[in-house]
């Protein structure tokens, strides 16, 4: 699978897909999109990179182990739900803050951090499965 064309294109494609996955993730705040689909896009980006350059290159590129990414995402998601204990409302209630960034009001919510958590879980879990499958093909 490592033709010259594919190997040349793969890094750009990976970078673009990851960028797009973040766009889809943030868009999911108010419009169709969200953490799950964004995570899938990012995981397929890593899979493409892995097909082109091998699994070891992907592992080097993402530095931490994919399952650790998934763990961090899971933790973020649960914590987003637990924050509402301080507001006196039930688990998973969406809480909003409106900080002002350079004069623009940015609405942030626990809903969003939950979605980021979902994104990380999907990226981590699917990447780790994809890498495991690609690794087997090599030996």
């Amino acid at each position: 699978m490592n033709t010259l064309i594919f190997r040349t294109v793969a890094p750009f494609l990976t970078a673009l897909m990851i960028l797009f996955s973040v766009f889809v993730l943030l868009r999911g705040h108010n419009e169709p999109g969200g953490g799950f689909i964004g995570g899938l896009i990012a995981a397929s980006a890593f899979a493409i990179y892995g097909i082109a350059y091998g699994v070891a290159a992907v592992r080097r590129a993402i530095i931490v182990h994919p399952m650790s990414i998934a763990g961090a995402g899971l933790l973020l998601a649960v914590v987003s739900g637990l924050v509402s204990v301080f507001a006196g409302v039930p688990f998973m209630t969406g809480l909003w803050i409106y900080p002002s960034l350079f004069g623009v009001e940015v609405p942030l919510a626990t809903v969003m951090s939950f979605d980021v958590g979902v994104y990380l879980v999907v990226v981590g879990a699917i990447t780790s499965i994809a890498l495991a499958l690609e690794e087997r093909e090599e030996d």
Partner: protein, 125 residues
């Protein structure tokens, strides 16, 4: 329209069960994938098929427009798709490993855990 979809669901189930009855793990895997889709289609049909408005609150509005579709079955399907997708990914890895380790994809020959010549317990000392 419900009738057509009901027939389709039936066909999906039939294909899934046929594949699941196979002895070969890869076919069983395909059967499981089709079974998951059959169920999703079933829930989708069960949530009524309408040509009504998608349940999205338009900008400048507070409530859904009248006659909007019921979003809940779709939400259920989405969850089910996610779950069946992750299970399918796991089973794919497992089947592949099983083929590598056991050297067969025939379930009749997978008798490592339950050997054919397992002895009976002794009747006394």
């Amino acid at each position: 329209m419900e009738f057509v979809l009901a027939c389709l669901v039936g066909a999906f189930f039939a294909a899934a069960i046929y594949l699941l009855l196979s002895r070969h793990t890869v076919r069983m895997l395909l059967g499981i994938a089709i079974l998951g889709n059959a169920v999703n289609l079933l829930i989708f049909t069960g949530g009524r098929l309408t040509r009504e408005v998608p349940p999205i609150i338009g900008s400048g509005l507070d409530t859904l427009t009248a006659g909007a579709a019921n979003p809940l079955p779709q939400a259920l399907i989405l969850t089910a798709i996610v779950i069946s997708f992750s299970f399918f990914a796991f089973l794919l890895v497992l089947t592949y490993r099983a083929f590598q380790e056991l050297g067969t994809d025939d379930t009749d020959e997978m008798r490592l855990a339950e050997p054919k010549n397992d002895p009976l317990p002794p009747a006394g000392y």
